[in-house]
């Protein structure tokens, strides 16, 4: 087990405490961590790819119903959430930059800002979902929207709930990770000398942002 970090730890002590037995040095260990995370992100992207492929197939089959469904979604909330997530990607990237600059307090508050923006995204998504539920818009067999009673509309909103819901689950997981990272920065466990876990956690957050960048035009703009 690794010993707890101290604020005045030397570079050699950091290496001894962090280095896994299977690695010859910290640089190789860090490369492996980043590479491993990218492979994980690739698998996540392929999970979403199946849903994107379904969207493409059903959009070609039901072009008018999908266009009508897009017009029915809350454009203002979806667009606001796009700005919220893009800014959150910047704040977490800049937090890493501040850690490298040996300014952990600034990095901590940037991570807190990221958490706040992520929470705001989920609040807006919740408001949007509740608006849909009030109109009888549910996924699958529960769909009961009288204004758009067609199979194509039901498929559009089923995909909408699946894709945005899966994305929201990723947001919640990402929030948990960023909260944990903020705690580590606050305690000095992630610092200017060693912050690989913050880099790897941020990669996950950026993936969640990247997926939303595609979901936004598909479900809010391309009507």
């Amino acid at each position: 087990m690794s010993a707890p970090a101290t604020q005045h730890e030397t570079a050699d002590e950091t290496t001894v405490r962090r280095l896994g037995v299977q690695f010859s040095d910290l640089a190789k260990q860090d490369h492996a961590a980043r590479f491993g995370m990218w492979v994980f992100l690739a698998s996540e992207l392929l999970l979403f790819a199946g849903l994107f492929a379904l969207y493409v197939a059903y959009r070609i089959k039901y072009p008018q119903e999908f266009a009508d469904g897009v017009h029915h979604n809350a454009l203002a909330l979806g667009t606001t959430n796009t700005f919220v997530l893009i800014i959150s990607s910047f704040t977490i990237a800049y937090a890493i930059h501040m850690l490298r600059k040996d300014r952990p307090r600034v990095a901590f508050w940037l991570l807190i800002t990221t958490i706040a923006l992520g929470a705001l995204f989920l609040v807006f998504k919740g408001i949007e979902y509740s608006g849909h539920f009030a109109h009888g818009i549910f996924p699958g067999q529960l769909y009961a929207f009288a204004e758009m009673p067609t199979d194509g509309a039901r498929m559009f909103f089923t995909l909408y709930f699946f894709m945005t819901g899966l994305h929201a689950i990723h947001m919640i997981v990402g929030l948990g990770i960023v909260i944990w990272l903020a705690m580590r920065v606050w305690k000095g466990l992630a610092n200017a000398r060693y912050h690989t876990e913050v880099e790897v956690g941020a990669l996950y957050w950026h993936l969640v942002d990247g997926i939303w960048i595609f979901l936004w035009p598909l479900f809010y703009l391309t009507g």
């Binding site: 570079a11 640089a27 190789k28 860090d30 490369h31 980043r34 590479f35 990218w38 492979v39 992100l41 690739a42 992207l45 392929l46 790819a49 199946g50 994107f52 492929a53 493409v56 197939a57 070609i60 089959k61 454009l75 667009t79 796009t82 700005f83 893009i86 800014i87 990607s89 910047f90 977490i92 990237a93 800049y94 930059h97 490298r100 600059k101 040996d102 200017a192 000398r193 880099e199 941020a202 990669l203 950026h206 942002d209 990247g210 960048i213 595609f214 936004w216 035009p217 598909l218 703009l221 391309t222």
Partner: protein, 99 residues
Amino acid sequence: MHEREADDDPRHVGSGLKYVAALVALLLLTILTFGLHFVHLGVAGPVVALVIAGTKVAIVALIFMELRESLAATRMVAIVTVAFVALLCFGIVGDIAWR
């Protein structure tokens, strides 16, 4: 292996301007996408929106995710994944369009 060799020394870290520039570019592209939503482009509309989305994701990957400075093996993972996703989506479009 040259991936951020200077990480250990805060004096060697850049100014951070690239992150601000990336943010500005992302916000401008988002505003552009939103503005184009009100212009009738016909069937080209979704294509244009998705091309802009792809550009935004490339900025996020290259700057925020630091793919530009990553090892070749890491870049290869990203490229192959995007290629597979594109193959899946274009394959479906082709299949349905020429069925």
